[in-house]
């Protein structure tokens, strides 16, 4: 099963990291993800720009275009990984490894449809 690991974090805190601190977090995560990649389990990983760069399109009879993220929660979606895991157990374990020593929250969501090239299957 392919799982999406949605990285949710208090954006104000992530934005206050220095470049060195940011690099350190990425380097630490990379140690885990490179092993997954070596086993062919790692899909694309994405880091999103801050939510201040977000535009929301809400469809209705008239589509409404809004500035900012859809929800105003403290913890925002800042990026995600796609990882092939054998079980939810394994997915949870993987999340714990990637986020070790961080105050990040991972929302693990099984992937329903994955189109790496964006083509309709």
């Amino acid at each position: 099963m392919l799982y999406a690991f949605l990285c949710c974090h208090d954006e104000a805190i992530v934005n206050s990291w220095t470049k060195e601190e940011d690099d350190a977090v990425l380097a630490k995560r990379h140690k885990v993800t490179e092993k997954l990649a070596a086993r062919g389990k790692l899909g694309p990983a994405v880091r999103l720009m801050p939510t201040t760069a977000t535009t929301t399109v809400r469809m209705g009879r008239e589509p409404v275009v809004l500035d900012g993220p859809f929800t105003e929660t403290k913890e925002a979606l800042l990026g995600f990984y796609l990882i092939d895991c054998d079980s939810l157990e394994e997915a949870i374990e993987t999340a714990k490894q990637i986020g070790q020593d961080e105050n990040v929250t991972f929302e693990i969501r099984p992937v329903r449809l994955f189109l790496p090239q964006g083509k309709a299957s």
């Binding site: 601190e21 720009m49 201040t52």
Partner: protein
């Protein structure tokens, strides 16, 4: 990231909201700051044991408010009781706390806190210093270092600024839409001043004080989070990101200025540029042009040119033209002249800046640009005179050294026309008063 580092970041990023909310309760800046300080100390003891709260700001406000109220109650025994209205405010505060502290609440609190620092009686540098201390929470030592003065001198300056602000009548009611817009404009200008203070120091040895720029970026981000659909705040955010993206390329190993043309563009921060461009695009959808948006667009044109010769100078000329119409200023015209010299040649640019001699007679960049244009036209003697003026007006050793480089070239090359314009094309810098 260790727990202590996490708490440190959480406290730092919670500070503007928390101090702003505490100021609303106590209506006294010192008391609000002390309450936040005490709440922070308790967080350092409590959070490693009980884990960080889900909402650090709300935690700090609640604890800070209780601590502050205790202090007021203790004080009552020895001091005269607080004024009637202060007591009833505390009752209001109780009711307020029952409400969920949401972003729209913080929005006006943070805005008020920043707005207090923009008091019109305070000279620009005092405003910056106060905001860095009160809103950003930089230590007096850190601020003193950035402004190259002693810690005690900076302490005095902050104390004076605070007492000035304390006497001002700041309304604590929720502002109306017009007043909110007015406050936001003043606050944005101050954040921009902080950025400029870091981007191009008004004195001292350090030409760029990166930490001030980073602080301005943080404050812009905070404003944009609170006012997500204000195109000028998007413009401000984009502007500071795009300017700051060039920082790694702006000075050489000896702290000498590197002109835009000569900068190693591979050193520019691509993440910041991408975010800045995305924000400009968002802002343009609103079709409410403003000076930050236009300046950001100008910086964006530079950022998109892979090589100096790829720069779309006629686009920049047009953008400066739009800025001139919106906000006529000799400094804007001077910057436009640099674009004109690239797009239409130095002669046209020189004609454009002739009328600026009077208003910009004491402006370093005016003589720098003038000298550069004269040099391009092969008028070496006149160029030398302009450069001499510029050196006399330079505010930092790096600025002076940069002009001397041009003079040396003039000496070496004799009458050979130069192709570069002596100007680090940048933002039209509002002139801040000296410290």
């Amino acid at each position: 990231m260790t727990d202590v580092a996490y708490i440190d970041h959480a406290l730092r990023s919670a500070r503007p909201q928390a101090v702003g909310a505490l100021l609303r309760y106590f209506r006294d800046l010192d008391r609000a700051e002390e309450a936040f300080q005490e709440a922070s100390l308790r967080a350092l003891k409590n959070w490693p044991v009980n884990g960080p709260p889900r909402d650090p700001v709300a935690w700090l406000v609640l604890v800070g408010r209780n601590v502050g109220l205790d202090a007021v109650r203790r004080g009552k025994r020895s001091e005269p009781p607080p004024a009637e209205d202060a007591i009833s405010n505390f009752d209001d505060a109780e009711a307020d706390m029952a409400e969920r502290l949401d972003n729209s609440h913080y929005r006006d609190d943070v805005l008020r806190l920043l707005f207090i620092c923009c008091h019109p009686d305070l000279p620009a540098v005092q405003q910056i210093v106060l905001a860095l201390r009160v809103v950003s929470g930089l230590t007096v030592k850190e601020i003193a270092r950035a402004f190259l003065v002693s810690e005690s001198a900076m302490e005095q300056r902050i104390t004076r600024a605070k007492s000035r602000v304390a006497q001002a009548e700041v309304p604590f009611e929720t502002p109306g839409a017009a007043e909110r817009a007015e406050r936001l404009g003043a606050v944005a200008a101050m954040v921009y001043l902080i950025f400029n203070e870091g981007y191009s120091a008004s004195g001292g040895q350090a030409h760029m004080r990166v930490s001030l720029c980073e602080e301005a970026i943080r404050l812009s981000r905070l404003l944009l989070t609170l006012f997500p659909s204000e195109p000028e705040i998007m413009g401000l955010m984009a502007l500071v990101l795009l300017q700051h993206a060039r920082t790694p390329a702006r000075l050489d190993a000896d702290s000498a200025i590197i002109l835009l043309d000569d900068q190693d563009r591979s050193l520019w921060n691509r993440d910041m540029i991408a975010e800045g461009l995305a924000l400009i695009e968002k802002a343009l959808r609103h079709r409410e042009p403003g000076s930050y948006q236009i300046q950001a667009a100008i910086a964006g044109v530079h950022a998109q040119a892979a090589r100096p010769e790829d720069t779309d100078w006629s686009e920049i000329d047009q953008l400066y033209g739009a800025l001139e119409r919106l906000q006529p200023s000799p400094v804007v015209t001077l910057n436009r002249a640099v674009a004109v010299s690239k797009a239409r040649g130095p002669e046209a640019a020189l004609a454009m800046i002739e009328p600026l001699a009077a208003p910009l007679g004491a402006y370093f960049h005016f003589f720098g640009v003038k000298g550069g244009l004269l040099m391009q036209l092969g008028r070496a003697e006149e160029a030398r005179v302009a450069f001499d003026h510029a050196i006399a007006l330079a505010r930092t050793p790096a600025e002076a050294a940069h002009i001397r480089l041009h003079l040396d070239r003039l000496m070496k090359e004799g009458q050979t026309p130069e192709k570069k314009v002596g100007q680090d094309v940048g933002i039209p810098r509002p002139r801040s008063s000296s410290v």
